[in-house]
């Protein structure tokens, strides 16, 4: 997970670690379920080391001194990094080239039938789509997580359509001399 | 040039794309133009035949005659007539011509005639119009008055026995100087002469009964009379002022049997029109009824087609057609159909019209009317083109107004929703449910169907009533004119029925096309083809039934309006029979299109709607 996500969540106001985790869970919905509980704290520690956040411990009298009790806040450097991140236009890109080359190589070497590779991949993507779609159907309308799930579903759909194009293409290549 | 070609090609494409609809449109407009032609011809015949005949034949303003004293047998004096011709008010005159009473025998039938001796050359006043053959040629040929000839079955070229001698009929003619047979006024002594209500039998001269009119050479007239003293004389006078004819006659009321009898033209006119008024009313009413029906059928079809055009207009505009081009294409399409329909209608009307005109000529005592006048051709063509322009105008205006996108998206005319009808139909059997809902989608078309059937049935009922009365009259008083009136009634009735049949088929097709989509859905939801076919058929039968009921109530009213005499209402079982007949006929006419529509495969329609 991107460190900047956690940084940005702190931009509104200083928060406890557990508050950050709750906010993430809410935004991600079922997608966030796989997230390790300690992941947020690992990231926070790393950010602290980089001088992007500072911590403030509560009054020592009541402190049992667990990580949970600390309040995290952005430093000036952290503020700057968040602003920078928001203007970035990076976009997660699926590595289609790898799969494409896998098909080409398999066909050239005669190691495997590209069509059966496509087929296996398709089943896998369909299974993922089924999961995402079921998760989406379980979400109430308008939740943050529903929007994320819709994005996942649409991407998987696009991937499946590309696989269909692969299948068509390799079918013609095979039938051609 | 290229533009014209494009317009013609686009119009032709669209017509060929839907040949069934184009054919239906052609049929409907042709039916309308045929009917209109008939109506106009009828109107022309019924218009004012006497006046036309009077003008064409230089008809007299006053007919003056003298005859022998029926009691004493004193001979008539033609000098009385000559003197009358010299009066100040007289502008022109002809005669005196001798008139002999005699008999004519033809085909075993004998009838009394009054034979008027006329010179071969045309007279200044009263030039009878020859409808068949030719006028007197100075020889032995005779000319017979048209109604009389018709009654006795005489044609030009026939040989008849006149006063015991065989003579050839040179021609048949009509005149405005005398009421047509058998209501001819008497120039010689005719029965019945009554004194104190008792017929006078012992006359000094021969007495004729319901004489016909025959024109013969002057010398033949003289020789036809048993005695020159038996001759009567007639003169035809034209006044400076035709409107003064009645006053002229009133000032010279005969004081004795030897004085001239004067008959002013308004008197003849009244006689003629009194007798023919019914026939005229029948023809005019028939023409109106047919006109209304024709408009109804075109309205149904053009209305249905206009909805279709909106989408097409959108397509044309989407590919870059200007509103002007769109209008031109639509206009070209309709003008083509309208012109073909006008031509077909004129030909069909022209072929049918003699059935009316031939009978009406004798019937009305008028000159033979040409079946198709230039005015008729112009009117029919103008009306057909008018339909084309109106059918173009509305979508064209819409095209100019609506955006291309809106026109493309606007599928068909959205159906109407009649809530209570839908709720009511839920309680009815499936076929009736379908019928009521199909009909409910297009209230205006249903109204037109009802109106059309009301008009037809009114016409039929009125014709039946008139016919029944005619038959009663004929039984007591055989009159050839009444028989001919019956024939005209029959022609009108047949035309009414034919047009109503075309209307029904057109309305059914329009409905079937209109509901093909909801029909497919209804069948997908489980309606059987039989239920759907019955529903589509019933959707026409229900309004027809309503129309028939209204019509059988309206028929007697119509008849009452046409014939002010005592109305003999047709028996109730007739009306029931007409209503039942209409239901059976409409069922029969709609069953084929409805069954075809109900059996059409469902799947393509449901798929096609996706496009």
């Amino acid at each position: 997970m991107q460190q900047e996500v956690v940084l940005a969540l702190l931009a509104k106001e200083p928060s406890h670690g557990y508050q950050l985790r709750a906010r993430l869970r809410q935004a991600l919905g079922p997608v966030g379920e796989a997230m390790n509980a300690g992941q947020v704290y690992v990231v926070l520690t790393r950010l602290e080391k980089a001088g992007l956040v500072t911590t403030e411990s509560p009054a020592p009298a009541t402190a049992k001194d667990t990580a949970d009790r600390k309040t995290y806040a952005l430093t000036a450097k952290g503020q700057h990094r968040v602003a920078e991140w928001l203007t970035e236009v990076s976009w997660p890109k699926p590595d289609l080239a790898e799969f494409h080359l896998k098909l080409v190589a398999a066909a050239a070497a005669g190691l495997a039938d590209p069509l059966s590779i496509v087929d296996t991949q398709r089943r896998e993507l369909l299974r993922r789509l089924r999961e995402a779609q079921r998760a989406a159907m379980a979400e109430p309308d308008g939740s943050d997580a529903a929007l994320l799930l819709e994005g996942i579903v649409l991407r998987l759909q696009a991937d499946l359509r590309w696989l269909e194009a692969c299948e068509r293409s390799w079918t013609t290549r095979r039938s051609a001399p | 040039m290229g533009r014209l070609l494009l317009i013609a090609r686009l119009a032709g494409r669209d017509l060929r794309r839907r040949p069934a609809e184009a054919a239906l449109l052609l049929l409907a407009i042709t039916a309308a133009t045929t009917t209109l032609t008939l109506g106009l011809v009828m109107h022309g015949v019924a218009g004012d035949p006497y006046q036309r005949t009077r003008e064409a034949s230089a008809g007299p303003d006053v007919v003056a005659s003298v005859m022998p004293d029926p009691v004493t047998g004193a001979p008539a004096d033609p000098a009385v007539l000559t003197e009358l011709s010299g009066a100040d008010e007289i502008a022109a005159s002809s005669g005196p011509f001798p008139v002999a009473g005699t008999t004519v025998e033809v085909g075993g039938r004998t009838a009394d005639v009054q034979a008027v001796g006329r010179p071969a050359e045309p007279a200044d006043v009263d030039r009878p119009i020859v409808t068949d053959g030719e006028w007197l040629g100075g020889g032995d040929g005779v000319v017979v008055e048209a109604a009389f000839a018709d009654a006795l079955g005489i044609e030009a070229g026939d040989t008849v026995t006149l006063g015991g001698e065989s003579v050839e009929v040179a021609g048949i003619a009509v005149t405005a100087a005398m009421t047509p047979y058998p209501a001819a006024s008497c120039l010689v002594v005719c029965t019945p002469i009554t004194i104190n209500g008792e017929p006078v039998r012992d006359m000094a001269v021969d007495v004729l009964e319901e004489p016909g009119l025959i024109w013969v050479g002057e010398s033949m007239a003289t020789s036809l009379a048993a005695d020159p003293d038996d001759l009567a004389y007639v003169s035809y006078l034209r006044l400076d002022d035709p409107d003064a004819a009645q006053a002229f006659a009133d000032a010279r009321i005969p004081n004795g049997p030897m004085d001239a009898m004067l008959e002013p033209w308004p008197h003849i006119y009244e006689q003629v029109t009194h007798i023919e008024r019914n026939a005229q009313r029948v023809l005019l009413t028939g023409a109106w009824l047919l006109g209304i029906l024709a408009v109804a059928s075109v309205a149904v079809l053009v209305g249905g087609r206009m909805a279709d055009q909106t989408r097409r207009v959108g397509l044309l505009k989407a590919v870059g057609g200007t509103p002007g081009l769109v209008a031109a294409v639509l206009l070209a399409e309709y003008v083509l159909v309208a012109l073909v329909a006008a031509a077909a209608g004129l030909v069909a009307g022209g072929l049918t019209a003699p059935a009316i005109t031939d009978r009406a000529a004798g019937l009305l005592g008028g000159a033979a009317t040409p079946s198709l006048t230039a005015a008729t051709v112009a009117t029919v063509t103008a009306v057909a083109l008018g339909v084309a322009v109106v059918a173009t105008f509305v979508p064209a205006v819409r095209a100019a107004r609506t955006s291309t996108v809106a026109a493309l998206n606007d599928a068909a005319r959205p159906p109407r929703r009649v809530g209570w009808l839908i709720a009511l139909s839920a309680r009815l059997p499936v076929a009736v449910l379908i019928a009521v809902r199909v009909a409910g989608r297009r209230p205006r078309r249903v109204a037109l169907s009802i109106a059309s059937m009301t008009v037809t049935v009114s016409g039929i009922v009125a014709a039946l009533a008139a016919n029944a009365e005619l038959n009663t009259q004929l039984a007591s008083d055989p009159d050839p004119r009444m028989e001919r009136l019956g024939d005209v009634l029959a022609v009108i009735t047949v035309t009414l029925v034919a047009l109503a049949a075309v209307n029904t088929v057109v309305a059914t097709w329009a409905t079937v096309l209109d509901v093909r989509y909801s029909s497919a859905v209804t069948r997908a939801l489980g309606a059987t083809p039989a239920q759907l076919a019955a529903g589509l058929s019933l959707a026409q039968v229900l309004p027809a039934f309503l129309g028939a009921v209204l019509g059988s109530a309206g028929g007697p009213l119509l008849y009452d309006a046409v014939d002010q005499d005592d109305v003999v209402l047709p028996p109730a079982w007739w009306l029931v029979a007409v209503v039942v007949g209409v239901v059976v006929a409409v069922s029969a006419l709609t069953v084929v299109p409805a069954r075809l529509a109900a059996r059409r495969p469902v799947a393509p329609m449901l798929q096609g709607e996706l496009a």
């Binding site: 997970m1 991600l28 079922p30 997608v31 966030g32 379920e33 796989a34 997230m35 997660p92 369909l126 299974r127 993922r128 789509l129 089924r130 999961e131 995402a132 779609q133 079921r134 998760a135 989406a136 159907m137 309308d141 994320l148 819709e150 996942i152 579903v153 649409l154 998987l156 759909q157 499946l160 | 959205p414 159906p415 109407r416 929703r417 839908i422 839920a426 309680r427 499936v430 449910l433 809902r437 909801s518 859905v521 209804t522 069948r523 997908a524 939801l525 489980g526 309606a527 059987t528 083809p529 039989a530 239920q531 059996r599 495969p601 469902v602 799947a603 449901l606 798929q607 709607e609 996706l610």
Partner: protein
């Protein structure tokens, strides 16, 4: 093993002849168990809609057999087929095919009326179904006043009017946006959970992925079958690149 609701053997539908012969459906064997949701996927023109029409009795096969609810139906007369469509099958179409002049509730009760139910019973059933698809409040509205997703829910309610043993859906989400698609998918899921047997033809992977079984169709024939049921991987997070 649950009972088989629908079964076809060598189902074939051809159009034209000679050179222009088109095999829209070419020897299809299909078995659908009670309560199963089967999706048939393929590019447009692969014959999936024709297959659906054959199974639902909207069209007749050129060859082959169709058994529906234990009864052979490919030889039935048009009249009996109509009865079959009325009682055993419910259709859902891409274009909804609602009657625009009828209100929502009148649309839904129409199949029951066609089946000869009493107006009262038909209305009661329609109202109940509208409640089930969440549109009870729209009963008196005209379809033109509804969104696409709402219209399709009305169409689904209509398909259920006569409690069919089999619901056939032809591209039910083809005209819908993403949110409306989700709505309809939820509705199908509810039907599925209630034990309704569903056959859906589509080219929408989202519908296909939610079916129990996915059949791929090419040129009129089945080319692949995937059973998608089974435990989930529980790795949704991988989909969002949250790990690694």
């Amino acid at each position: 093993m649950s009972t088989t609701i629908l079964s076809t053997r060598g189902l074939t539908k051809t159009y034209g002849d000679g050179e222009s012969l088109v095999r829209a459906v070419d020897g299809v064997d299909l078995d659908v168990a009670a309560g199963e949701t089967v999706a048939v996927m393929g590019p447009s023109g692969c014959g999936k809609s024709t297959l659906l029409h054959l199974v639902g009795g909207l069209d007749r096969p050129t060859a082959g057999e169709i058994h529906l609810a234990g009864r052979r139906v490919d030889q039935l007369t048009e009249r009996t087929l109509a009865r079959l469509r009325r009682t055993d099958v419910g259709f859902v179409f891409q274009a909804f095919h609602l009657m625009d002049e009828l209100t929502v509730v009148e649309n839904v009760e129409l199949p029951a009326l066609l089946a000869g139910r009493s107006p009262r019973a038909a209305r009661a059933r329609a109202t109940e179904l509208l409640r089930r698809v969440g549109l009870a409040a729209k009963a008196a509205a005209l379809p033109t006043a509804l969104s696409g997703g709402q219209r399709q829910r009305v169409a689904v309610a209509r398909a259920l009017s006569n409690e069919p043993v089999l619901v056939l859906a032809d591209e039910p989400t083809g005209n819908l946006d993403s949110a409306a698609t989700l709505d309809v998918l939820r509705l199908f899921e509810e039907l599925h959970e209630a034990g309704q047997t569903l056959v859906i033809v589509t080219h929408d992977e989202r519908i296909a992925a939610t079916a129990d079984r996915l059949i791929s169709m090419r040129d009129g024939a089945f080319v692949d079958e995937t059973r998608l049921t089974g435990g989930t991987s529980g790795r949704l997070g991988a989909l969002a690149e949250l790990e690694g």
